[in-house]
Chain length 273, copies 2
Amino acid sequence: MVKVELICVGNEILIGKTLNTNAHWLAKRVTSLGLKVNRITTVADDLEEISSAINEALSRNPRFIITTGGLGPTFDDKTLEGIAKALNLKLEVNDEALKMIEEKYAQYVKEGRMEKAELTPHRVKMATLPVGAKPLPNPVGTAPGVLINYENVTVIALPGVPSEMKAIFDESVVPVLRKEAGKVIFYEAGMEVLGIVESEIAPLIDKVMHDNPYVYIKSHPKGEEKTSRIELHFSTTSEDVETAKKRVGRAIIQISDMIKKKGGKIRPIKTFG
Amino acid sequence: MVKVELICVGNEILIGKTLNTNAHWLAKRVTSLGLKVNRITTVADDLEEISSAINEALSRNPRFIITTGGLGPTFDDKTLEGIAKALNLKLEVNDEALKMIEEKYAQYVKEGRMEKAELTPHRVKMATLPVGAKPLPNPVGTAPGVLINYENVTVIALPGVPSEMKAIFDESVVPVLRKEAGKVIFYEAGMEVLGIVESEIAPLIDKVMHDNPYVYIKSHPKGEEKTSRIELHFSTTSEDVETAKKRVGRAIIQISDMIKKKGGKIRPIKTFG
């Protein structure tokens, strides 16, 4: 599967003020498009931290690196500078990005929400991109997203504001990822197991995973082990849904029989798939 | 400040099924104890991924590495193996951990929720720790937490089930962190700015940060830039609350005046502090 790394930039995540819902949303979207998120890294609004996180990600050879946060007009929006540093690219004012931003401010003035639309240094900053970058239109905010093709990796920088991040992703990033993903789909199904503890299920999972090499089973104890409520998630990737369903179905039947023999109860649950 | 790295282990986070509330909770707790979370990394339930994440964290010289997830009895609980590999330590059955687990299962049998308490290989697995590790009692589940002092770093492994993670953290990890943190406290206050856009506030922040070197100001546009609602968070660290409050107060007064002159409105908001 095509490897993707997510890098989230923001002190507010590291001090535990902001719950990282951006990473969660992106991970789900990327997975359901048939690509694989290998790692999620959160770093501070700090040039060195951002550029080393990018460099470390590059060394793991993902096909895509997607960043969130740090694209705005303030001094601590340092993501593009960090990417430029890591890729050894210069920053320059990008004409296409500048035009996007000028049009936004002209529109704000027209709507009477601002008096002047002039390009202050802080506004020009949002159009200052690594050389060769492509700005991605921001349908709901000002700072454009950014796409950079660099050797075998595509680096995509998205804003940290969730509504802007999602809008740019859906409009400009989905087509790029879909093209690379090919036809692989991710399929998952789940069940809840009651009445036996996780350490009793563990050997059953081992056996079923062994007999069903394409199926991955993960157990999720819910609450405390002593309540004996465990979710099992069965997942596989395949080029067609029918094959995927068949594989997962076979594993579910096998483990269900084994769980019942141990005195456990099962019931189906809705999962991700 | 004392540096901490968080490493979260779990495929369910990488496929976007589970929102990483553990990292959020830990980041907040660690910060309010006066330590600094430098990085949060999420990796798959994979031995190589876990051990390289630990190795990379070690190379950044944090005082603490706290992991979540991967301590249970199933085949894909690989965190301790990954830590052992990274630290070049052998794994061995830890007598103290084994005793904790035996007592848990004896209790489950007593409560009539299980028939037999014997130590199956999957249960012994939870007591198989890196040599020299200290098990941390799990007040609400079975798998103990683990603490390892290795050269200048302390590695602490916590379960992924939030109730267990929190209980072990509060009971056994807080005293360790508090001792290292010294007296440093983190203080924060916030305000909401209405009626001017982020790119207009950016130069004001630059000025106030310059005049108040110990205060960090971060702007958070809420929703879309055009709605002109921006939160400003002012933070500092200090050995006493009074100094911290005075510093942040001075910065707030200065920027409030500047915002009002620009035609903006402000109102105080509750933040983290």
